[in-house]
Amino acid sequence: MELAEQLAGQQKSISVAEFFEKNKHLLGFDSPTRGIITTIKEAVDNSLDACEEAEVLPDIFVGVKKVDKDVYRIIVEDNGPGIVPKQVPFVFGKLLYGSRFHQIKQSRGQQGIGISAAVLYAQLTTGVPAVVISRTSYKNKAHRFEIMIRTEANEPEVLKDEEIEWDRMHGTRIEIEFKTTLAAKKRLLDYLMYTSVVNPHARIKADIDGEVYNFERVNEETIVPPKAILPHPHGLELGQLKRIAAASDINLKDFLINSFSRVGDKNAEEIIGGSGLKESRKAKTLTNEELKKLLESMQNVEVPPPPASQCLSPIGEDMIIRGIDKEFQLDFVRARTRKSKVFSGHPFIVEAAIGYGGKLESEGTATILRFANRVPLLYQQGACAITNSIAGINWKAYNISQQGLPTGPVLILVHVASTNVPFTSESKDAVASIPEIEKEIVLALQDLGRDLKMFLGRRDRNKQFEERARAVCSILPDIAMKVSEIVKKPVPDISPLEGQIMKKVVAKKGVRDGFVEIMLSNYTNTAVSLTIYNMSPEDGKDASPKPDFVDNIGDEYNKLWKVIIEPDNMWSAKYKGTNGGTLDIRGVEEKKLVVIDLDN
């Protein structure tokens, strides 16, 4: 037998399940610790996606129960639309089976791999089948399945399928047993918290081996689910065009208008004109060469960008701020949602937020929250375009210290939403370096950086002013004392000086040359509206300006003026008398007021 024939005997087809069983790391199952997070992430992503499609406010339960020394049972349950019984085995028991693969719209899961991979790895480590309960409506009973995957064929094997009672009206529950540890519990909680930050319409309850955590909903409106759109002519590849064309039975112009986003009468004609083909040709009759010409023309003709508002669902600046507020208590939060942009024909939107202060660690690297299509990215921070974009910004320009990444009590959130988020690997840990996306991230953060700088500047200036003024006021008495000693005169009162320096309202009262004089100086930055009460034996009838009101109390008179004093202005009143009595000022905080009796 020839060698080639010998070798041929060994050749055989490999199932995709076998492939992924062997290449765990590709899907984020490379360690038992990590597997638990990936599993919950895949299940929760599916739940959120399903609720979104059903326009239901998500109510999700996540459970992790210790079953044995190193075996945990993971449960994720939602109130989504449920899955029809005949589909359940395929959704959970077959890799590369799903509804969103061919749809062009923003969604969390896409490839139909995630959850079935979890089932696959679970059975590999424990041999225990996955349990799925699903109910599609109050009209139907719930179905309970026990499912395994036949790896060598990538097909589901249903061990049990029974109808059961279930208290949820609709929804899905999955239970998987995994050989794992809870070493990454902190990261798991981070994942749930971050998920809650960018899905403020979701309520998530988690029971991690007995400890219960609640992530409350802060927004009672459901998200408008993004709609799938047609492919955009730009960035299309010949192979795709060929396939679409092969399935079409209409003439070229209608084919273009019906099969692609943003192609109308006018640019369809332009495309056909550019390709040199006849409008009447049926798309499916075109040869390879003709398709190439058509494709080239499609690239050259201007076509508006894909309708991002339809297929993408950004979180929105307000919701991001509310999400962050909910989980972190900060001194400052701002968010930006950029306009949609396009890379290789895929629309995307970048959102970002910066927070400062509060309970954030004042030392060390900033807290960085990365999201893609509302899903937190937990691993491979260093390999991610988001991280690299953050590190590429000169944060010092915004008065934030920096060692590669910014440091200090800073929180940075970046969300990339797209019909096709470019990940560096199928484990979806890091966004790949795409110049168009990086540019948007940088612009959003620079914009926010400027806001933060203003905030910090204002805060620092206030603090600094106060400190400086206080320092000056502590030295002035010494100067007054020493100078008086030299000139051998009594030490003068320095409280008016202090008021001036501390930017207060200074009120003085004194008797001079048989007149009672009341002087008010406003050294603050804003106009003040004051009421002045002067209780003294004099009735002040000759006062200038006249009091707004005079009241006789016992043998004294309470004179009242109402005045508004602009910043750095002063006001004074004067009347005949020899006893100034008492002076009382209302209308300004006590700490902003100095009242001085020049006669004491």
Binding site: R468, V483, P492
Partner: protein, 357 residues
């Protein structure tokens, strides 16, 4: 004299007192002390501070502290004059130990403050009984001096009555009277090596020259001495330094006044003083051993190009030449051409070219 000084000090305190009484934040105004605010005074032929003023208001902690310290210094000096004592700046610095927060952080600070006081009162520090600590220079030549000392008057001839090191100029030059002299001119030198070389080679005797050792950047007393020799005895003064930017500043401080002491120019500056060398052109003409200019040297030369005191054709040419050469030489570099070269060739040629001999 002492009375005048005390009243000047009281004036300052009085001004602050009434400012505080008027609820005005106390302040003090001074001429701005940078090279951009010195101006040539045609009358006295010296450089003085111009009209730019800096006002120090106690509205920042730094300025307030500055005023407080000044108040303490004013008080201390007033008392010292009253008790007829004197002290050095360094001693005052230590005395400030007892001044609580008005205590000086560093010697520099007390120096600056005293200069401020000199400017405000238009009196020199000696008027406040503040004794400089700097070394006086040495002098050698045919001139007889009477010094009024605590031990009575001493008459000293600066060749006959002194050893090889010459006569040491005291801190307070006002105590000197010039009795008689046979001198034709004064040559002030930066380094001791050159001073000794001229003595050894008999330069003083040969040319009736008064030799003066500046000891680097000259002390106030040295500059005052040169001023008096020039002014009272009519002796031309020439200055012989190393050929580098820092040495030109030595010359400038003698001939034009220094930026730090522009307020004292009238009594410290010798307007007619002339620069002998080492000139940058000497470096190339005599092919002197030289070092490369450092970055600091070049920066100093460039700063001199924008210094109004050096704004003459001579200095512009020399400084630009030096920048082009990239070199500097010391006085003693002339030794490379033999130990006699400087007294037998260079100085005679240069001084006759300058019209001195």
């Amino acid at each position: 004299m002492d009375k005048h000084a005390v009243s000047k000090l009281l004036e300052i305190a009085d001004r602050w007192y009434s400012q505080i009484k008027r609820a005005e934040i106390p302040y003090i105004s001074l001429p701005t002390r940078t090279k951009h605010n010195i101006e040539y005074d045609e009358g006295t032929e010296v450089w003085k501070y111009g009209e730019k003023e800096t006002t120090r208001t106690a509205s920042t902690a730094k300025s307030a502290l500055h005023l407080l310290k000044m108040a303490y210094v004013v008080g201390f000096l007033k008392d010292q004059i009253g008790e007829n004592r004197s002290s050095t700046l360094r001693e005052m610095y230590y005395i400030s130990e007892g001044w609580k927060r008005a205590k000086f952080g560093a010697q520099d600070e007390s120096n600056f403050l005293v200069e401020d006081l000199e400017i405000i009162t238009e009196l020199s520090r000696e008027a406040f009984h503040l004794r400089p600590e700097e070394d006086g220079a040495s002098i050698f030549g045919p001139i007889k001096i009477r010094e009024q000392t605590r031990r009575g008057d001493k008459d000293i001839h600066c060749v006959e009555d002194v050893g090889e090191a010459g006569y040491s100029i005291p801190n307070n030059v006002e105590r000197l009277t010039f009795l008689e002299n046979d001198a034709k001119f004064v040559i002030a030198m930066e380094t001791g090596g050159m001073y000794a070389r001229l003595m050894e080679n008999g330069f003083s005797e040969e040319y009736d020259a008064v030799l003066l050792h500046l000891k680097g950047q000259p002390a106030r007393s040295t500059r005052r001495m040169l001023k008096r020799l020039n002014n009272e005895l009519g002796l031309p003064v020439v200055v012989f330094t190393d050929g580098d930017p820092w040495s030109y500043r030595i010359f400038a401080s003698i001939a034009y006044g220094s930026i730090k002491a522009a307020h004292m120019s009238d009594i410290l500056v010798t307007p007619g003083a002339q620069f002998v060398g080492v000139q940058p052109s000497d470096i190339s003409m005599y092919n002197l051993p030289s070092d490369h200019l450092t970055e600091g040297d070049i920066a100093a030369l460039k700063a001199e190009l924008t210094d109004p005191r050096f704004d003459t054709e001579y200095w512009r040419n020399q400084i630009n030449l030096q920048i082009k050469l990239g070199l500097k030489s010391e006085q003693q570099a002339f030794a490379a051409r033999g130990l006699d070269f400087v007294t037998k060739e260079y100085l005679p040629a240069r001084l006759s070219e300058m019209g001195i001999i």
